[in-house]
């Protein structure tokens, strides 16, 4: 077979250059190997790729090895080829063309897919920056911005608006409990325990957007909380416009929070008269350095029920109409029981705290005094006593007692008439009965005078001996139960101390002494709220802002309107 091979090379400026070769062989081999008749020096071509064979039936091509062979674009293994066909071998196109007269076959060979630029292709394949790897700061910024904005601004406000029709205010609005409100993401801190049952319902307190929580919202539950002072009498702006939340801030943890800082009180109480000229209160701004002496409320005229506040500095005397020397009762040498044995009393023998430690249990004659102060009236009946606290009944009891003894007979008294001393059980005649009752009257009259004498009732009470003896009585006792009714004091938290550390009872000889310790006694341990070396004691440690008896903080009418 005579073959003409024309190697075509296209020039950059256009046109084609041709290099022709003539080959004479039975079998035309195609491949990268130099021994091939059609030598294709490109690494993409296999060493041996195909053979062309001329037969009487025509020209045939046959693939060798595994390399793909294409005929007019279709992959083939064996095929008959004719003029006009294009055989694809790797990056080369081999076209069968009309042979010249002296040749059997003619082909053109052209490298149609030359090797690319390695560096350019490597760079194209490689992604060497984060931006080309699909990262985008702008996209992530938008995404995260929108996620946070929608989740934490859009949804909370959206659900709040959606539910605004149901907002009837107050924590008990059932509608709120059944709805999901995204505004809980705004909750700035743990609610106090007492408010936790409506903690997820922000609108219970925050009624209107961009408006501070109102007193009305608090008053839905806390309607009766009294004011600090009557706002009509003291129309100070800071009093009238006071907000509950000024002192009671929630979202600060489980413990109910009230602002304890004394500055809050001292702002006004440092110079009270300048803002409230009609006040009778003295200034106070710091327990340690600026606080008046205690002014206990004492009884000054029990008959007219007059109670007066007198400063301890003025040595107040209480008119209680009770005689009681503490000194005597605390002196073991002077204390004797009725049987002559010595008795030792201590404070706690009579003064016992009420549960809670705030006040003392009321002192009671039967419980605390009657062991020694026995209301006896007859030596021959040493166990017989009259009732305490009912003067009119005392005479009645004595009359009944002596009448019964006289009529029964058998009285062992030597000076008594025979009829009274007769054998019990014998019948009395009318004259005898009169005689016996006459003796009885003498006896009860004497006993009543004895009971209403300075040694019995009169040893503790003020006696009133007006009119007949049946009307004799004692002045009612008015012992103060609470010296300072508008402040707190707990004996409970002072357990470690002795009573006499504060109360000078062991030297007091008169019940008129007010045995309340002076402020200096407290200042041995306590000082103002900012103290670091003493017990810091703010105003509300002893006083309350919401003064009992004052009109309510929030007017009920306003509450109802809400």
């Amino acid at each position: 077979m005579e073959l003409r091979i024309a190697f075509l090379t296209r020039r950059a400026k256009g046109g084609v250059s041709t290099k022709e070769e003539a080959v004479s062989a039975d079998l035309i081999r195609v491949g990268r190997g130099t021994e091939n008749e059609v030598y294709l020096p490109d690494p993409r071509v296999h060493l041996h790729m195909a053979v062309l064979r001329s037969t009487p039936d025509g020209l045939f091509m046959e693939a060798i090895g595994t390399g793909p062979l294409r005929l007019n674009g279709n992959v083939v293994r064996n095929a008959r080829v004719a003029v006009g066909d294009t055989i694809g071998v790797g990056p080369y196109d081999i076209c069968v063309v009309d042979p010249p007269e002296d040749k059997d076959v003619a082909i053109t060979v052209e490298l149609t897919q030359p090797m690319g630029d390695d560096v350019k292709e490597l760079k194209e394949r490689s992604r060497t920056s984060l931006a080309t790897a699909g990262m985008s700061k702008r996209a992530w910024a938008w995404l995260l911005f929108l996620v946070v904005a929608i989740g934490f601004i859009g949804l909370p406000i959206g659900t709040r608006f959606m539910h605004s029709d149901d907002n009837t205010g107050g924590p008990l609005s059932v509608a709120h409990k059944e709805q999901i409100s995204f505004d809980i993401a705004w909750k700035s801190g743990e609610m106090m325990d007492a408010h936790k049952f409506f903690a997820d319902d922000c609108a219970a307190c925050h009624v209107k957007p961009f408006e501070m929580t109102t007193n009305q919202a608090c008053a839905v539950c806390h309607a009766d909380e009294p004011h600090h002072a009557d706002p009509v009498k003291f129309p100070r702006a800071d009093l009238v416009q006071a907000r509950c939340a000024d002192c009671h801030k929630d979202h600060q943890g489980p413990t109910p929070l009230k602002i304890e800082n004394q500055t809050l009180c001292a702002d006004c109480h440092r110079d009270l008269k300048s803002g409230s000229p009609s006040t009778t209160l003295e200034n106070a701004s710091d327990f340690g350095s600026d606080h008046p002496e205690f002014k206990p409320t004492v009884s000054t005229d029990p008959s007219k029920n007059v109670w007066t506040r007198i400063s301890l500095a003025d040595n107040p005397k209480e008119v209680s109409d009770l005689k009681f020397p503490h000194k005597t009762h605390l002196d073991p040498k002077r204390m004797r029981r009725p049987d002559g044995k010595s008795a030792t009393l201590e404070c706690a023998s009579c003064h016992v705290e009420e549960p809670g430690g705030g006040l003392m249990v009321k002192i009671d004659m039967e419980t605390h005094c009657s062991d020694c102060h026995r209301l006896t009236f007859d030596k021959l009946a040493p166990d017989r006593v009259v009732s305490h606290g009912k003067p009119k009944q005392v005479v009645l009891e004595l009359r009944e007692y002596y009448a019964a003894r006289a009529l029964e007979g058998g009285v062992p008294e030597k000076t008594a008439p025979a009829v009274v001393r007769r054998r019990p059980g014998t019948k009395l005649t009318e004259p005898q009965r009169k005689e016996a009752l006459g003796w009885a009257k003498e006896k009860w009259d004497w006993a009543a005078r004895y009971i209403f004498s300075a040694s019995q009732c009169g040893s503790c009470h003020m006696l009133i001996k007006d009119g007949p003896i049946e009307d004799w009585t004692v002045k009612p006792v008015r012992v103060t139960a609470r010296w300072q009714p508008l402040s707190f004091f707990s004996h409970d938290s002072h357990h470690e101390m002795n009573c006499v550390d504060c109360h000078e009872a062991s030297t007091s000889v008169s019940s008129a002494d007010v045995l309340l310790p002076k402020i200096d006694s407290c200042r041995d341990c306590h000082s103002g709220g900012n103290s670091t070396s003493m017990v810091p004691s703010t105003c509300i440690m002893c006083h309350e802002f919401h003064t009992p008896g004052q009109p309510p903080m929030v007017k009920l009418k306003e509450t109802a309107q809400k």
Binding site: P43, S126, S129, A133, G134, I153, Q252, N261
Partner: protein, 275 residues
């Protein structure tokens, strides 16, 4: 620019930031709020206002940076950005009064701390990686190395032209399939477990041991060329890794600062919405 911004103008902005922090700490220690220290006291509002202002101003740096002014000015801005940004740790923490919870407010605080943390990594990256990159390339440019790889590809194909088809196909794969970098993870890892060149190197070296006598020399030459190419690829992948490490923090710093902006707006809005 690298670390120059840290010492800019005799540490001027370090001094400003330190002053700001000391004043904030002193005020916090001095102030005795009527209730617990929190963002709602006057000092809390003050610190919060300063903090919010700083955050907006610091984000403005991103805009300012694009308006290429003189380097000196830009360095001053970056210096202020870094030091005043760091001062937010103190200012914002004092603003919280150490009250944290599962809410938007702590989310804003947390985002701010992550943004600042990523910024600190950025400072480290700027100080450390450019130096490592220069060391890694041994004074060559990345383009030099790319050209050397291209030259090696050409030589490999030439040497392989007489070698068996199996070898040639490995060489061709090495030329046409090898890539540098790739996905974010691939870039950060600095390696390519599926590298066509590494595969070609391993197989050709294996085949060289049992190659025909007439192919021996070219096979050995090919192994050497592939090894050289692998070395260049390692350098380039390390280059890409260092560059990715130097850039990656910004992909947290910038988007998270926008998330912070949204959280900050929500935080301010919510505290006054529910006053």
């Amino acid at each position: 620019m690298h670390e120059g911004f840290l010492v800019y103008n005799g540490f001027r902005y370090l001094k400003v930031a330190t002053f700001l922090c000391v004043v904030a700490i002193a005020l916090y220690a001095w102030d005795v709020p009527p209730d617990e220290p929190n963002g709602g006291t006057w000092l809390g509002y003050g610190l919060g206002g300063i903090g919010a202002g700083l955050i907006v101003w610091l984000m403005w740096f991103g805009m300012r940076k694009r308006k290429y002014g003189t380097i000196g000015k830009l360095q001053g801005w970056l210096s202020a950005h870094v030091y005043l940004g760091a001062s937010l740790i103190i200012i914002a923490t004092l603003h919280t009064g150490f009250q944290f919870g599962w809410n938007l407010h702590t989310l804003a605080y947390g985002l701010m701390m992550v943004v600042i943390g990523s910024g600190f990594f950025g400072i480290y990256a700027y100080a450390r990686y450019p130096q490592l990159m220069t060391q890694n390339r041994r004074d060559e440019t990345a383009d030099d190395i790319y050209n050397e790889i291209g030259e090696l590809d050409r030589e490999c194909r030439q040497v392989a032209s007489d070698l068996p088809d199996e070898v040639v196909s490995l060489v061709l794969a090495s030329c046409s399939e090898t890539r540098i970098g790739g996905s974010v993870i691939r870039q950060l890892s600095g390696t390519d477990p599926n590298c066509a060149t590494a595969r070609a190197f391993d197989k050709v070296r294996e085949m060289a041991a049992s190659a025909a006598v007439e192919h021996g020399t070219n096979m050995r030459k090919l192994v050497t060329l592939l090894a050289m190419k692998a070395t260049h690829l390692r350098t380039m992948r390390r280059e890409v890794q260092l560059k990715a490490l130097m850039e990656i923090w910004l992909y947290f710093h910038v988007p998270l600062s926008f998330a912070l902006l949204a959280a900050l707006v929500g935080h301010i809005l919510s505290v006054f919405y529910y006053w």
